[in-house]
């Protein structure tokens, strides 16, 4: 349970960090909060010659309300997000997903960017980023590029961030008007990765019809997923006319690669996934109707 030896780098600016990453190539890995990376190193599931610790890198932490968005530095801890009144008010889905991540000791170290870049398919933040159409800022020596969450998760534990790039910030849109937001998951113990889970963001127009909708799924495939079929089925309907159970079924019916392992067979996960969609939908709609 001891990590293999590595060289340690602690750059202080984003430019220095990406220069290092570009020089070191695929033998290097970014170390953020370390709450996923360090266990993998300890178990020697991963071995890197170089770790680039970003804890001293300036300008990649903090929560900023901008025009219609909330921009959060990738190095911001989950604990800081959990405590933030801005996040609670402006991006409730992110706020509500946060206490489900690990335990408070983990959230004291774990970061937003670390969760997204690690991209565990059973983690909460990637599904939240998908459901809300978040935008990720990725820095390299060539400059900053912006990637939509829908294009970010490319494979199991794999993202659009290249070896010479650093995820620096994430921008979440603030949903104006009547909105409701909920996360639901089934995990065997509090703080475990979910067997399956869903997050729902729903917006209603003046007549109570669904005019905006994002459903994110986690634990239900090799990557975090959206449920486009279920979303379009709900779109335009009066919220009361959407059958949550049917919606859950629609969200999970076409999933091709549901994990199947000793913790839960794929069929069970799919059924649990459908139930979590239905529960999250009910709560989100209730909130939107009340607001």
């Amino acid at each position: 349970m001891k990590p293999a030896p590595f060289e340690y780098h602690a750059p202080t600016t984003p430019a220095e960090a990406v220069d290092l990453l570009s020089g070191l190539g695929d033998g290097a890995k970014v170390l953020a909060g370390g709450q996923s990376l360090v266990p993998m190193l300890a178990l020697r599931l991963a071995v890197f010659e170089h770790l680039v610790d970003v804890r001293r890198v300036e300008g990649i932490r903090g929560i900023e309300r901008q025009n219609g968005t909330v921009r959060i530095g990738a190095g911001t801890t989950q604990a800081a997000i959990e405590r933030s009144p801005e996040v609670a008010a402006a991006v409730p889905l992110l706020a509500r997903a946060t206490p489900l991540i690990g335990h408070f000791q983990i959230r004291n170290r774990g970061t937003l960017g670390g969760s997204l870049a690690h991209a565990d398919p059973a983690a909460e933040y990637p599904a939240v980023a998908l459901a809300l159409d978040a935008e990720l800022e990725i820095l390299s020596a060539q400059g900053t590029r912006r990637v939509r969450a829908g294009d970010f998760f490319t494979g199991l534990w794999t993202t659009a961030v290249a070896d010479d790039e650093l995820l620096t910030a994430v921008t979440f849109p603030v949903w104006a008007g009547r909105g409701g937001f909920a996360v639901d998951e089934v995990a065997r113990r509090h703080g475990d990765f979910a067997l399956a889970g869903a997050c729902v963001a729903v917006g209603l127009d003046g007549e109570g019809r669904v005019d905006r909708c994002g459903i994110g799924l986690f634990g239900l495939g090799p990557v975090p997923l959206r449920a486009p079929a279920a979303e379009s089925a709900a779109w335009g309907l009066a919220a009361g006319d959407v059958d949550p159970v049917e919606l859950g079924r629609a969200a999970t019916a076409d999933l091709a690669e549901v994990p199947d392992d000793l913790h839960a067979p794929a069929d069970y996960r799919r059924r649990v996934g459908a139930v979590t969609v239905a529960r999250a939908w009910r709560r989100a709609v209730e909130e939107a109707q009340g607001g």
């Binding site: 349970m1 001891k2 590595f6 709450q35 610790d53 004291n108 170290r109």
Partner: protein
């Protein structure tokens, strides 16, 4: 692999050292500072036995490299109360049978200390959630729950 000079403040004492980057904070505390009250159970962030306060926040010291704690303030179980005295949380654990073999106890005490600092009147559900990151194989947790509930009622808790 190049060793790195660091200085960690442990229980109020500066601890300069030169360490391999792969040395965890837990191993640094145990092997370099000889503070063996920080226990290592799983060494991959599951059991919580190695919990310490890093700049006041409860963290798993097996998931922090010592180099990441350079310049930081660390409180271990040895620093939770003056020598020969018990902190309110420690006293409550003793009074309410919050421990049996004692292996997990330092982690629980540090977690509970940080939790109670941030939650003044916690419900039992909140206490359970706050303790969910620490595993105990002896007590069945009821004594620990009662101890933390009792410590929450004391002035220093």
């Amino acid at each position: 692999m190049a060793e790195v000079p660091i200085e960690v403040h442990v229980n109020g004492t500066a601890r300069p050292a030169t360490v391999e980057p792969r040395l965890t904070l837990a191993d640094f505390l145990r092997e370099r500072c000889h503070l063996t009250g920080t226990h290592l159970g799983c060494e991959h962030g599951v059991c919580g036995a190695c919990t310490v306060l890093l700049d006041g926040e409860a963290v798993r010291s097996c998931l922090v490299f010592a180099v990441q704690a350079d310049g930081a303030e660390v409180t271990t179980i040895e620093g939770i109360a003056p020598d020969g005295e018990l902190s309110p949380v420690q006293a409550a654990f003793r009074d309410h049978h919050g421990l049996q073999c004692g292996f997990c106890t330092p982690g629980f005490v540090l977690s509970a200390t940080a939790f109670l600092r941030d939650h003044h009147q916690p419900s039992d559900d909140e206490i359970r959630t706050g303790l969910s990151g620490n595993l105990c194989r002896c007590t069945g947790y009821q004594g620990i729950l009662v101890a933390v509930r009792a410590a929450a009622g004391t002035a220093a808790g």
